[in-house]
């Protein structure tokens, strides 16, 4: 087992003929992901890396049985791509695109939740169940299969932490980059719930950062619902208030959303907080004993 993506994932790539879309399609397929279709309006009938291209997501789903979509189109077109995927009947959408206006996402998220469609992102690196399936831009080779679930708001920091988990002799069941924007689909608490139910997963690593209340929410959720050990790392202890630190969601305003506050929220419910990335693997290993 693992969560969200596995050997049963049948992927459609929205924006497959673009530079990023075609590059990552090739990579994902090499990793073992079943990429069954691509979509670019007006390019239906073409073939990219041996994969058939359709004009609409609905057609791709009907003809190939795709159940998951990944969106590689630029932010100006990503909103419509999200609605289209939601309408076409896929179960999971992974949106890599960065720069989507927050109020557009508010509507998209509402639209998708009505249809029971799960969303990862936007502004995220994607999701990987090592050895089975990778959807997005995650570098597959650094993730080894195993028992640790990873949930992160970041990109490269996720890879850094994954490396330390693997270096500690542990492996990863599924790693989800939930995205760096204020309004995202699956959040920490949603992923914690999925990991709690997953048999393969024995412990969870949370990689958070300044801004919002997702970590505090996760701490409360953990206290009430989780039985597996959780280790956390929070980035942004030195971030100045009021500044947007790259990710649109990473801003401390009005004294809320600080790294210190998040660390305290975790520690108060018994979640161990690593003081630096290299500690994550060590703390997780100790927690499993």
């Amino acid at each position: 087992m693992s969560i969200l993506v596995d050997e049963n994932t049948r992927l459609v790539v929205q924006g497959i003929t673009g530079r990023d879309g075609s590059f990552h399609t090739k990579r994902m397929r090499e990793y073992g992901t079943k990429v069954v279709a691509g979509v670019t309006p007006g390019k239906g009938g073409e073939v990219v890396e041996g994969i058939p291209v359709f004009n609409t997501v609905r057609e791709a789903v009907e003809k190939t049985g795709a159940n998951t979509s990944v969106i590689f189109v630029p932010y100006k077109f990503a909103v419509d791509a999200l609605y289209e995927a939601g309408d076409a009947g896929v179960e999971l959408i992974v949106c890599i695109a960065e720069g989507i206006p927050t109020l557009d996402m508010v509507k998209v998220v509402r639209f998708l939740s009505d249809r029971g469609v799960k969303l990862i992102g936007p502004n995220c690196p994607g999701v990987i169940s090592p050895g089975k399936c990778e959807v997005g831009i995650l570098p597959g080779h650094i993730f080894k299969p195993g028992q640790i679930g990873v949930i992160s708001r970041s990109g490269t920091l996720t890879y850094e932490i994954a490396t330390h988990i693997v270096d500690a002799g542990l492996g990863i069941s599924t790693c989800i980059g939930v995205g760096g924007d204020p309004i995202i689909g699956l959040k920490f608490i949603d992923c914690l719930e999925l990991f709690e139910e997953d048999e393969q997963t024995k412990g969870v690593v949370l990689v958070g950062e300044i801004g919002g209340q997702d970590e505090e929410e996760a701490a409360r959720y953990y206290q009430e619902h989780c039985h597996k050990p959780v280790v956390a790392f929070i980035a942004g202890l030195t971030a100045p208030p009021g500044k947007r630190m790259g990710h649109a969601g990473a801003i401390i305003s009005g004294g809320a959303g600080t790294a210190k506050g998040k660390m305290e929220a975790f520690e108060s419910v018994g979640i161990r907080v690593a003081k630096e990335p290299a500690e994550v693997g060590i703390l997780m290993k100790a927690s499993l004993k």
Binding site: V109, F111, P277
Partner: protein, 384 residues
């Protein structure tokens, strides 16, 4: 992006939200002229982007144009939380019977716009939230229907007992929601919303923050941006695909990815150093991007050492290495550069760096320690 009160009020006017007449003055004489035009008592209000200007003495009432000039003399040039006041808004003073709060934010938890009203207006709303949270009423709006008239009325019945102000205020709330959605706002506030003795409703203050991701389609609002010298560099960096924020330390950081960039700053601090900046060169980092990053970074004369922390997921390490070498050729560097490159084409990157004076390290922790040590060495040699 934040905008000034007078700019937010321009947006309010466009949406038919009642705002007292007023204009911006850049000098005391100008303030006097505007007060003369308005006739009667006026408020002279510092235009700054930080909060708490009332407490800092940045808002004063004047009964005559002469008094308005005096107040403007005091307020202009004043420093409020580090921000110098360059403009004052001179606006008609309004008789106040009651003050309320009205605001809309994007709530990350419910993933919806949330409307908030409170009969405790005219004071710091965060203080109300802390001390008397029961005085704040919230409603999460379904973005697919928008704020419906009966919902707006329902909220305003929490503010007033009589129907007339409820009717007026709910019209304001509906318009505020419209302005919020159509301006790509992340926050819109009226504090206070005032009812006068003869039953008129006025937005006395206005605050709007705009979502940076929405600015590409908000040209009019984008044009309102006032750039501080500090922000100039940030905006220049952004135009080059970089995310840069200057800090006070002496170790320059160049990192791919925002989360890793923050973690790098944190680690430098944890080991006893001080980061000079936040700098995210993004996912796809071409040699040109690295060169641009170095250019911006080295303008900061406090920088004594530079730490490149690159985890190449899709970023190719050999590209980054080429970029650093290129940058080295452009700037006659006398600053030590510590380089950590992990990931795709790592070995090729190391080969490229071998023939240069760059200092390769194999982990983030080692790099942070090395950069701190080198920065200290240089700091000492300069002070000697």
């Amino acid at each position: 992006m934040k905008i000034h009160e007078y700019q937010a009020k321009e947006i309010f006017r466009k949406y038919g939200i009642p705002v007292p007449q007023g204009k911006v003055a850049l000098d005391p004489k100008g303030a006097r002229r505007i007060a003369e035009e308005i006739g009667g008592p006026v408020a002279v209000k510092a235009q700054v982007l930080v909060g708490g200007r009332g407490k800092a003495g940045g808002v004063k009432l004047a009964t005559t144009p002469e008094e308005a000039e005096e107040h403007a003399t005091e307020i202009l040039g004043m420093e409020i939380k580090g921000e110098v006041v360059n403009k004052v808004l001179v606006t008609q003073a309004v008789d106040i019977k009651s003050e309320a709060y009205m605001g809309i934010v994007v709530d990350r938890s419910s993933k919806r716009p949330v409307v908030m009203v409170s009969p405790a207006g005219g004071v710091d709303i965060e203080e109300v939230a802390r001390e008397t949270p029961e005085k704040i009423h919230k409603f999460a709006v379904d973005p697919l229907t928008g704020l419906l008239p009966h919902q707006a009325r329902g909220m305003c019945f929490k503010l007033y007992e009589e129907y007339q102000p409820v009717r007026e205020a709910s019209s304001v709330l509906t318009r505020l929601y419209q302005a919020f959605m159509e301006s790509d706002a992340s926050l819109a506030e009226i504090n206070p919303l005032v009812v006068t003795p003869n039953g008129e409703v006025w937005a006395i203050d206005a605050k709007i923050n705009i979502d940076d991701n929405g600015l590409y389609r908000q040209r009019e609002i984008e044009a309102m941006r006032e750039v501080t010298p500090e922000e100039e560099q940030e905006i220049e960096a952004k135009a080059k695909g970089l995310s840069y924020i200057k800090l006070q330390g002496n170790i320059g950081c160049v990192v791919n990815g925002a989360g890793l960039a923050m973690a790098t700053m944190d680690l430098i601090k944890r080991y006893g150093g001080e980061p000079a900046n936040f700098l995210d060169i993004g996912g796809s980092s071409s040699p040109e991007k690295v060169t641009n990053a170095m250019e911006i970074l080295l303008r900061d004369k406090n920088v004594r050492a530079v730490f490149f922390n690159i985890f190449g997921g899709i970023t190719r390490c050999d590209d980054v290495a080429n970029g650093i070498v290129e940058a080295m050729e452009k700037f006659p560097l006398n600053i030590p550069i510590v380089v950590r490159l992990t990931g795709t084409n790592e070995e090729r990157a190391r080969d490229i760096l071998k023939s240069t004076p760059l200092i390769p390290v194999s982990s983030m922790a080692e790099g942070a320690r090395k950069a701190i040590e080198l920065a200290r060495g240089r700091q000492n040699s300069i002070s000697e």
